[in-house]
Symmetry: C2
Subunit: 201 residues, 2 copies
């Protein structure tokens, strides 16, 4: 068969579509970005688009899949540093802060997507729900390993604080939100916070 694929097995056109759409969906919203715009900026035609994705919604779900994979990779990286459990909690919190400050300055991709998809049974909302559940339980495991006082409640609070940081960072500016985030996150973890202000980067 004739496959015009990249070394890792997926087509170059598909990768460009996904990268372009991810950027546009995040920066401008999903319903605001049409297929015309995506294929135009990806340097691809409509037919090519529909060869790779059955519909626009499949592309949206793939976009959320990319975001999900990125965050999982960040957790893996933090865990593979070999830091001991208590240290890892700090690494994770710093990593979340750094992510909001540098990459996710337009809010949370999942929260923003959910705002545009009211149907909880839709594929998009299901992707949002499963990502959030994974994220929460991952935090719970990290807190558990660190002997935090209440890993389950702590994880739930950390999710809340992270949600708030992304929203607040977008709407109010990260610099205004950072102090409240650092204080709240360490208190939510139930572990002693580092010295008052300095935030590791």
């Amino acid at each position: 068969m004739a496959t015009r694929t990249t070394p890792n097995g997926t087509s170059a056109a598909r990768e460009r579509l996904l990268a372009t759409a991810s950027e546009l969906f995040y920066r401008e919203g999903i319903h605001s970005v049409g297929v015309d715009r995506i294929v135009g900026e990806a340097g691809v035609t409509r037919a090519t688009f529909y060869r790779h994705f059955p519909s626009k919604e499949d592309l949206v779900e793939a976009y959320l899949g990319v975001e999900d994979a990125n965050i999982r990779a960040a957790f893996d990286a933090a865990e593979s540093t070999g830091a001991e459990p208590r240290e890892l909690v700090g690494l994770v919190i710093d990593g979340l802060a750094d992510d909001v400050a540098r990459h996710h300055t337009r809010g949370c991709p999942f929260i923003n997507a959910a705002a545009e998809y009211p149907d909880a049974d839709s594929g998009v909302r299901r992707a949002v729900a499963s990502h959030r559940e994974w994220f929460r339980s991952e935090l719970e495991h990290v807190l558990e390993a660190a002997d935090a006082p209440d890993p389950r409640l702590g994880a739930a609070e950390l999710v809340l604080v992270r949600d708030a940081a992304m929203v607040g960072g977008y709407l109010d500016g990260w610099e205004r939100v950072r102090p409240a985030f650092v204080a709240s996150a360490h208190r939510a973890a139930g572990l002693p916070a580092p010295a008052a202000e300095p935030v590791v980067e």
Copy 2:
């Protein structure tokens, strides 16, 4: 002149349009709801719509104005109970929780709107920003009157926690979020929390 107005001065058609649009915008998102749908459910024609609102965006801003007015009214009601300052903090936190549990089960109207309007200079985003600033300073005044340890930081944290509660209440379910919200909110205020929920620390 021929004015078909209600006792309070605004036209009945305009009020129906605003009420219908507010409901639809909140429940289904803004870009997802077309003018056809709004005028249809409001029992009004397109021309009537454009007599009352120069464009759809003006209707969106009016919708945010309604939400803003509702929250201000809730604050006024809490303050007019004559509760003393420290008590008022508890009333406000309970009021916010009650609001998320009963009325705002689809997230925060302002956060959701901002997700669909990336341009920070747009009228919608300006309305969001000014509402948030009012909300934050209102909380700061309440905390200040109650002699909270750090009203400014406390208000910033309360905004964060409330944002998170609305997002979490929508995406994860209010019952799962409530314990974390109550604990975080009272700690953010810096005042003793009512011993009820399983509170850390």
